[in-house]
Symmetry: C2
Subunit: 553 residues, 2 copies
Amino acid sequence: MTDTIVDFRTEPARYRHWKLSFDGPVATLAMDVQEDAGLRPGYELKLNSYDLGVDIELYDAIQRLRFEHPEVGAVILTSGKERIFCAGANIRMLGQSSHGWKVNFCKFTNETRNAMEEASAESKQVYLTMVNGPCAGGGYELALATEWIVMADDGNTAVSLPEVPLLAVLPGTGGLTRLVDKRRVRRDRADFFCTTEEGVKGKRAVEWGLVDEVVPRSRLAEAVKERARALAAKTDRPRQARGIALTPLRRTLDGDRIAYDHVTCTVDRARGLADITVAGPTALPPAEPAGVAAAGAAFWPLALARELDDLILHLRTNEEQIGLWVLRTQGSPELVEAYDRLLLDHGADWLVREVRLYLKRTLKRLDVSSRSVFALIEPGSCFTGTLLELALAADRSYMLDGTLPDDARPAATVKLTGANFGLYPMINGLTRLASRFLGEPGRVDDLKGRMGQELEAAAAAEAGLVTFAPDDIDWEDEVRLALEERAAFSPDALTGMEASLRFGGPETLETKIFGRLTAWQNWIFQRPNAVGPKGALQLYGTGERSDFDRRRV
Amino acid sequence: MTDTIVDFRTEPARYRHWKLSFDGPVATLAMDVQEDAGLRPGYELKLNSYDLGVDIELYDAIQRLRFEHPEVGAVILTSGKERIFCAGANIRMLGQSSHGWKVNFCKFTNETRNAMEEASAESKQVYLTMVNGPCAGGGYELALATEWIVMADDGNTAVSLPEVPLLAVLPGTGGLTRLVDKRRVRRDRADFFCTTEEGVKGKRAVEWGLVDEVVPRSRLAEAVKERARALAAKTDRPRQARGIALTPLRRTLDGDRIAYDHVTCTVDRARGLADITVAGPTALPPAEPAGVAAAGAAFWPLALARELDDLILHLRTNEEQIGLWVLRTQGSPELVEAYDRLLLDHGADWLVREVRLYLKRTLKRLDVSSRSVFALIEPGSCFTGTLLELALAADRSYMLDGTLPDDARPAATVKLTGANFGLYPMINGLTRLASRFLGEPGRVDDLKGRMGQELEAAAAAEAGLVTFAPDDIDWEDEVRLALEERAAFSPDALTGMEASLRFGGPETLETKIFGRLTAWQNWIFQRPNAVGPKGALQLYGTGERSDFDRRRV
């Protein structure tokens, strides 16, 4: 465990860096970073630069806008400071951070920006940016994750990605990919832009597609508000509905045990693994969306998403040495199935939609975690529908064929529901089933016919849903050996291998960001030219010039 | 320059590691590595393991099979040794190599395997593998690059990718990607397979899709021959045609100057750049394919492809410190256009097809080179059609608007031909024009209407074909500054940036290999867990166990 535990739970009353305000269907999210409130000592968050703490608040705000504000159809992202939009990630923070911290930080910021895009596309809560001052590096990448960028047309305001010329690293939050793949900026212009410290402003920024509009400063606020109102007018979110409060998440941290209401985790340091158990619901779901709203944050699928989400972030950030996550479930398959039915039948309800999307994001977060994931399917488990996705997300699954001596519970089964056929696409845009059967697409159709069937181990293995199905004689040894072996491999090689095997098939903006851009950035984050004693990241601000090893690799 | 210059030019009479034999339409390429003939001192090439020298011969053999053997429709890749197919890349060689050497080695081996796949798909010279002994790591990756894998069904023969468990690195030649994306092996099975040192053999290898057939050893050779003959029967290659000889490539290396018949290069070490000039043809092309065959290796487009190909490989391997390649052309646009017309009109001819494909591969090699590429378009140049691709492949282009004082030549023009609209797709499957105008696909259609027009600088910039078009007053300073600036940036950051900006749009097996897998491998190739004094790659064969830093990144 790291020295100080990073807690991802927060709420608007505790924000130090963001101001959230509302004007009917338009919300404004203003970045106003408090310089002396960095998450760790050793740096000041000048010029609206950010660290993980700033991003944790942003992440929280985005979640709350979705769940607590059904009336909001557009969100203006801007700066609360007079003379700067955002200078990007804090350089001193990066300079003093370990390799692992930098990479984990970039992963979380990437996920948060992807969530903004998902909110725009799927929650119909559209983000746009008012660039009211210099907008550099991660600042511009934040803008790139919104659907419309309006920039002040003045001598001072420009967008830029100065990472390469200034810091010898890459823009770390999807900037390069979004330039050429989302905004489709011509690659030679992108090349020039990404090597030009001072960036691009005014008309050229529009002509090159770097922003959507430039507007005189005097008209900026009004122009953005107008655009926001127009975007909000097109939302399908219900203006009259009441949001649900994302009440504080209950969590106890007791030694190596972390417990939430439905998720528990025990960290086994000797074996280098985390034993995670997800509990199914204990009662039938409400019959109608009104009941979901009444249950609020206690609605099982929402509670599950929040708890699992928090646990993943906790383990990633605070338990770097724990390289293997072992997933189990426990509970009633029938009740999980009943919840799935509710989620499937009422997708048009705004809140049900949000819950589904949150589960989708959480499962995606699991997919892109740099940890091995194994699922163990045993008697008493409920790998059904939504929870079966956990096993399908795993690098491998082991299902006990039969029962164990002295265990009276019936043999485990797995069960497909409609949720497995479209609710939770991966970052490659495919369901986990489709990704699994890239070579036999017809199998996915066949499996549709088996929805609702309780598949015991042999049938599940035959259907391709689990990797191995040892019987009681082999179970203990086979599982133990697999866990031990996994924990003994090189963590780095596993990270690269898993990233390469998990996402076959089509590529998307997200797979490019997590698969390609992240890998390049990780590489550069280790190179002496960036992080060595004479590297650009270390020398930044000292006035000293880097002395690069000029060999091209 | 490195101490010993690696020369990529070779020919069958000089092969030490491969045996090429012919039986009508079926060729056999047998790997029989000579242990004591490593390219560099310090390792023995045991168990049919390979180094760059082995792969240079393989590359040469593949090229010659295409050009010199039109009668061959299928190529059996196998081992010439009794008890081993191939153990993959030589571990001691990797262990003693610099980071840059390892990465460059992997890039070349990847390109060679891609060329095998291209030969199968587009030259209709189909590769298949006879696995006649243990087939590990790079050995199996070689097999994966063929279209059909037949394995001996005995106790000794298995396929495996033991890199992760044994060496703490990734399979470096596309193995992970080809498993899940080409052969579409289920990801959990791939996970198991890639962590199982001893690999998978027999029926399970077929069931999991790791190989296509297993056959008793007694029937192996005949079964493969039969399959090869069946594949060869479907080729459209002309059995009666005569191949053309790839005569030795003339090259002079004189200090910092490299000269071929049509390509010259001067390395400017002070400025960190290579000045490359490509000369257009000096006479009209033959009117018919028969003339192409008669010209043989002297046919200008083929000579150009060979020379440029060799130069790129030379600069990559022997000139690591030269991070910027500046491309110029010189000659008659009309003659280039005439050659393009020939290439376009006679694509059905097997030899013209080979020449087109070779140019395509060479341009792709340029695209994936970890060097900045700038094109300078000046009076006297011939950036037309095929040669315009060089400017479109560049990260940036500068075109002089008008003429320079004391230069009587007319202003430069660029010209589109049909070659720009489909002959040379990039690794993303798109033409360079389509990749350039991802955001405005209609523009590519518009440009089709401008084929054959001589576009001066203003028109070329307007059409989006060049990045900047300074006039004679700005030209010298602007170009000089751009070159100086580029040479001053961090080579690593540029490599990552260029890899991210060059290939927008769709992804393919090849973009995944060069974009994603390579980046992960580069990262892992630097990690102490692989290459540190206690790293797996260093300790291999010593009997000592690695002591991994267990932090997951």
